[in-house]
Amino acid sequence: MIRLAGNSQDGIQSAGAFLARLAGRSAQEVMTYMTIPSTISGGPSIFQVRIGSGEVLSSGDEADFLVAFYQHSYQDHIGFLKEGGVLLYDSDNVQPNLDDKRFVYVGIPITGLTVEALGGTAKDKGKNIFVLGLIAKVFDLDTEKLTNLIRERFAGKSDDIANTALMAFQAGYAYPVGNVLTKLYQFEPAEKTGDRAQVTMDGNQALAYGLIAGGVRYGAGYPITPWSSVMEILRSELPKYGGLFVQCEDELGAVSMALGFSYSGHLAITGSAGPGISLKTEAIGWASMAEIPLIIVNVQRGGPSTGLPTNVEQSDLYQAIFGGHGDSPRVVLAPATVEDCFYTAIEAARLARKYSTPVFILSDSSLATRIEAFHEPNLREVMLDAKLDLTPPSASFKPYPLDHVTRHAPPGTKLGEKYPVVTGLEHDEWGHPTGSPKLHMSMTAKRRRKLQLLGEEIPTPKIYGERKGDVLLIGWGSTYGPIHEAVKLAREKGDSISALHLRHLNPLPNGLEQIFAGFQRIVVVEMNDEGLYGYGQLATILRARYCDPKISSLTKTDGLTFRVKEILDGVLTQK
């Protein structure tokens, strides 16, 4: 049973009515409904729907699923939620008591996302239809019938109104909430093996806390979906650790301020989604040239331009690796799961410091908002030191030695006679500007070589399945789940298929050639376009790197996460 709780002017009734009418029309008799409308016009209101199929949720007097639009909706109705039930709440308006462990919490900025999808004039209107889209996704409802119902409902009104409603529905449906809940329903208490407890959070939280664990204490950003919650968390959390996150006037300011923190000896983080990363690009090039450590988080969404703000896509890989002018090598990492967001952030911090380099973390909107449970990390073991180091370096100190990885002496460090200027101009070992062709050659090579050195320490990723076979699926980022499920299913059916997931995208890990040699076909699965020549972004890079004609590409650009079936069908039809 689903209970929607909000105010009557939010149109909860009409959302519920759509569900009810869908039930009425549906051949497979899916649901019945009941409403408890409010007596006070404009006051609190609820709408309750019971799903008949019982596949995912069992019926009963208590709600399995509560949607709370406001704090009062949450307070008044949480008592009706079954133990183990799901509270889906508008995180823009509701702050639930997360300490109450009886329920599963799924916070979604419904108000913000609706405004983002429809434009500011939408205000509170459209939230109901957005939620309808969310529910349709969660319960796998017949979207064709639902969109027809919406069209019918607004027939006779202006096209604008119907289109707006459809846009709200699509935005809700596109929101990656499906993952959240399918995952959650798989959590069984019996799974709690081992001595470490499980922690539950979304990908942006895991990323933010991973950065804190990595000793990152300073950062700067500018809001954009789906990155904002990383900066919101860091803004509140970092002061607890004596650090600071600043909201800047724009992304140009944010990346510059983060570089100011890093230059001062405090490894810093900045982040955004595609549009903001585009703005940061010039300064990231400076970080490459001046060899300043920096972590840049890109929570990817559909692009280019404002694109699909609330949909998922993996189309910023080229931008992460190559974005900007000149030869500006940087590290690019991509977490595969929520848990991996935590550990990837720690690795990013370690690498940025060790190699004095910018490091990209490529997450995406599906990872950002998906909630997963994972074994609580052993913080004492994994946390990195955040201390500012002003120890005077040895007498042979130079900021840009040709034969060593750069290790800057931050301001405040007492030096002998000469003080260094870090710079974006090509320079000699002391940082003096130079136009010397020889120095530009050797410094360019120095900046490249340190990433080659870094590449040597990247372990060969583990293969899921056999080491030899017909097909090897390669993925990166949030497609980990569906790819592995697809491989599992196909293997159960007897297919010879394995999977490899890459966290390190630049530089690539060692030993991939040997792995590729064991397979007839290598299919790179990614959520971006096949490009002018028929290959997605990672596929193109792998083909350039390994010159292996066996490498092919399976891509899609519908703004939705891969379904297992899509992967299996896609791999099959390519044969």
Binding site: V246, S256, G260
Partner: protein, 310 residues
């Protein structure tokens, strides 16, 4: 003093020699040389700990400044030096943050950052060498070029209304605003000292002649070239009738009126205000947050957060 106490070693004296780095690459006669000389003199006079001085800049002829000063420094990208310097200032209260740049760097490409650095009142000192032209890129119109100035991008004379730096800074909320002239070494030193001593976003506009692309631009305020340097007389609060006519530097409106005077205008401190800095406000927030959690160590703090997510 107890006899056991060893005399602390005399700190290294900050001499002009210790402060001198690369020989400036500016054209002979460029006004920026004098700004550099004034900066050396000010530092020699004040004897700050050498390692705690930071010299930062964006891009432009004037922005080459850090290479010519032997202190920790960074040469950043065009227009973004204010947020860079803000990051240094906010995370390192032990440092003296000095920022140098030109009119294009500060008022055009970096105009928005200037506004927000001022609004947030970040503790740093920013010296803008205003030559009314783009020097490094060789004579294009700058945001301060006067109407009629003939440049490569306005061959028949500039037509756009120039920025009035003083007005821009007052309305943005900068808390120390002064104007000086690169032929007036002592005046520059005084302005730099007062700016440095001011806790907050302190900005000095120095009219600094580009001998190459706008020669004679500031002669009107140079007594040696037949001009007149109109110095702002600040209130002394001495209860004399003359004091009524003097400028109250805490009066925003009066400062705005001074800034309205036609070129070459007034020189001296236009405005000063002791609004709390972002540095102080953030520190207060950090301190109260830390106190609320009993100053727990990093591991315990994160563990507590994770315990809530179980």
């Amino acid at each position: 003093m107890s006899t056991e106490t060893l005399p602390s070693p005399a700190p290294d004296k900050l001499t002009k020699k210790a402060l001198t780095a690369d020989h400036p690459t500016w054209c002979p006669g460029c006004g920026d040389f004098a700004v550099l000389a004034a900066f050396y003199k000010m530092l020699e006079k004040r004897q700050l700990p050498h390692e705690n001085i930071v010299t930062l800049a964006g891009i432009g002829c004037s922005s080459r400044f850090p290479y010519f000063v032997n202190t920790h420094g960074a040469h950043f990208i065009h227009g973004r030096a204010v947020p860079l310097a803000s990051g240094v200032s906010l995370s390192r209260p032990d440092l003296h943050v000095f920022l140098f740049g030109g009119d294009g760097d500060g008022f055009s490409i970096g105009g928005n950052h200037l506004e927000h650095g001022a609004r947030k009142n970040i503790n740093l000192t920013y010296v803008i060498m205003d030559n009314f032209v783009y020097g490094l890129t060789k004579k294009q119109t700058s945001p301060t070029s006067p109407i009629g100035y003939k440049s490569k991008t306005d061959p028949t004379g500039a037509i756009d209304q120039p920025v009035n730096p003083m007005k821009k800074l007052i309305s943005a909320g900068a808390t120390f605003i002064a104007r000086t002239h690169s032929t007036q070494i002592n005046h520059m030193i005084t302005m730099m000292e007062r700016a440095m001593d001011h806790p907050g976003f302190s900005v000095i506009e120095v009219l600094s002649e580009c001998v190459e692309f706008y020669p004679g631009a500031f002669d009107a305020a140079n007594p040696r070239k037949g001009g007149a340097l109109k110095l702002i007389e600040e209130k002394k609060y001495d209860n004399t009738p003359e004091d009524d006519a003097r400028h109250d530097i805490t009066d925003e409106l009066a400062a705005y009126k001074l800034a309205n005077d036609p070129f070459p205008g007034w020189f001296g401190v236009f405005y000063q205000n002791d609004r709390p800095t972002k540095n102080a406000l953030e520190k207060k927030w950090i301190d109260t947050t830390r106190a609320k959690f009993g100053g727990a160590g990093d591991v315990d703090m994160l563990q507590k957060t994770f315990d809530r997510m179980k």
